[in-house]
């Protein structure tokens, strides 16, 4: 499983979720590709991100299996990852 993490330096929630995700990565070994909404504009456009950040796109064999938007707790994110791993 792979995760595309789309955030922005000016987005307070993104800064919080960066920390949350780093905590998750201490528990789970998941390849994470971080994109910046402004710096990596072209790549980001390919994912139809919409107007709310941050966005976590979970992929399996380059197929999107789940998308998580906005602010979530560490426990929530850990559960989401576990559920996806068990699928």
């Amino acid at each position: 499983m792979k995760v595309i993490k789309i955030t922005a330096v000016w987005c307070g929630t993104c800064l919080i979720m960066n920390k949350t995700w780093n905590k998750v990565l201490k528990e789970k070994n998941i390849e994470t590709i971080s994109l910046d909404y402004d710096m990596d504009e072209e790549e980001v456009q390919g994912y139809q991100v919409g107007k709310k950040l941050p966005v976590f796109i979970f992929m399996n064999n380059n197929q999107e299996i789940k998308r998580v938007v906005g602010e979530h707790s560490y426990e929530d994110m850990l559960k989401i990852v576990s559920d996806l791993e068990n699928e």
């Binding site: 922005a8 307070g12 929630t13 402004d38 919409g50 107007k51 906005g70 602010e71």
Partner: protein, 405 residues
């Protein structure tokens, strides 16, 4: 066109700011007396002994025994209020008259009651009207002299916050709450965070502190100007009930808009709303340009320019709360230095989230965000506050007069 509109708003606000303004709803006690009249002298002493309590009251004295003009005025006042005046002292506030002076505990207390009545209720200076030529007869209000300043019995229940005794809640507490709620809207925070990220790239803590602090300080000063303009407008119009009700309706509408935003946000994820691309990129370019300036002064000027333009745009983002705050100051007869202190207190708490984020960034040299959940609650609490104040402004303006020492 948009750019000119922005400069027009600044022009109008600064013009209003410079307008000379008479602060607050001034209550005037007209004291007609005679030199050598013992009762008048007794009242004179009484008024002196109560100077502290009457700080907010203008006392205008007319000696009638030696001055025929003053005597004529007193006669006209008798006609204005359709009342027979045979002697002095005579005291007038609004359309209430107190004739003669027995002693402090009776007549003195009546005068204090009369003044308290007009502090807590609508007040029109009919003697001033008469002096301006309006001789239309006015019915006297005789119950004002019996008015007892109610001990705080006004309690209301606010959802979440619970029972609140409005008379005890200090104006400073209300200032802090409204300032905090006003400050927690996301409008300018994203600019500060981008500025911090750009400055972090410089890896120069001192320079980062100077430029970042310049941005926040300028934001505070711009908002200070905006608030003082609001107060200047409200003070001018607040003596008329019509305008006070218009402000009340604006507050109620603002409150409903805030509550609607809160309800809308319940259905959405907590996160950052991406600001319109063009505007965002324009600001990024500005920030990148001035943060890379070799000269620190030019970089600071860039920060000042950015802060001014951002905070004017943000005016629309939080126009409701400053207006409600200004009305609160005005209705409490707060003016001059005291009103400036309240404005500074407001701005301190308005900027507190920016100060926290910036201080952490300077200390840790990393950028931290504030959860967007607080924006949601700022809509909720801001909405409730504006609704309550708007409704009270119409139904019970007296309740909004906090007693505080």
């Amino acid at each position: 066109m948009n750019r000119y509109l922005k400069y027009l708003v600044v022009l109008v606000l600064s013009f209003i700011l410079l307008l000379p303004s008479t602060y607050a709803k001034d209550i005037t006690l007209y004291f007609f007396h005679g030199d050598g009249c013992p009762h008048c002298a007794a009242e004179e002493t009484f008024l002196e002994n109560h100077q502290n309590e009457l700080k907010d009251i203008n006392i205008v004295k007319y000696e009638v025994w030696g001055n025929s003009e003053n005597r004529d005025l007193l006669k006209k006042i008798g006609k204005k209020f359709d009342i027979e005046i045979t002697g002095v002292p005579v005291n007038i506030v609004g359309n209430t008259l107190v004739k003669g002076y027995l002693d402090d505990s009776s007549t003195g207390q009546k005068i204090l009651n009369m003044i308290n009545y007009y502090r807590d209720n609508d007040y029109t200076d009919y003697v001033q009207e008469l002096l301006e030529g309006n001789t239309e007869v006015v019915k006297t209000n005789d119950k004002a002299t019996e008015y007892k300043k109610k001990k705080s019995t006004h309690t209301i229940t606010i959802p979440i916050i619970g029972k609140v005794d409005l008379e005890k809640v200090s104006l400073s507490f209300a200032t802090i709450i409204i300032g905090l709620v006003d400050g927690f809207n996301p409008c300018a925070m994203w600019v500060l965070l981008f500025l911090i990220s750009a400055l972090l790239g410089m890896k120069d803590r001192k320079r980062m502190f100077i430029i970042g602090f310049t941005f926040i300080l300028t934001s505070g000063l711009v908002y200070l100007g905006i608030l003082l303009s609001w107060i200047n407008i409200v003070v001018k119009v607040s003596t008329s009930i019509l305008f006070r009700n218009i402000i009340a309706v604006v507050a109620i509408i603002g409150g409903l808009i805030n509550l609607r935003s809160y309800l809308k946000s319940l259905k959405e994820e907590d996160g950052c709303d991406v600001v319109d691309d063009k505007k965002r990129k324009k600001i990024f370019t500005k920030i990148k340009t001035f943060t890379r300036e070799k000269s620190l002064v030019l970089a600071m000027l860039g920060a000042v320019g950015l802060a001014i333009s951002i905070n004017i745009v943000e005016l629309a983002c939080s126009a409701g709360l400053p207006l409600v705050f200004s009305e609160l100051l005005t209705i409490n007869n707060i003016s001059g230095i005291q009103s400036l202190l309240y404005v500074l207190l407001y701005i301190l708490f308005f900027l507190i989230d920016d100060l926290i984020v910036f201080t952490i960034a300077v200390i840790t040299m990393t950028s931290t965000g504030i959860s967007s959940k607080y924006n949601k609650y700022s809509h909720l609490i801001g909405g409730i506050i504006m609704l309550i104040i708007g409704i009270l402004l119409i139904l019970k303006p007296g309740w909004l007069m906090f007693t505080f020492k």
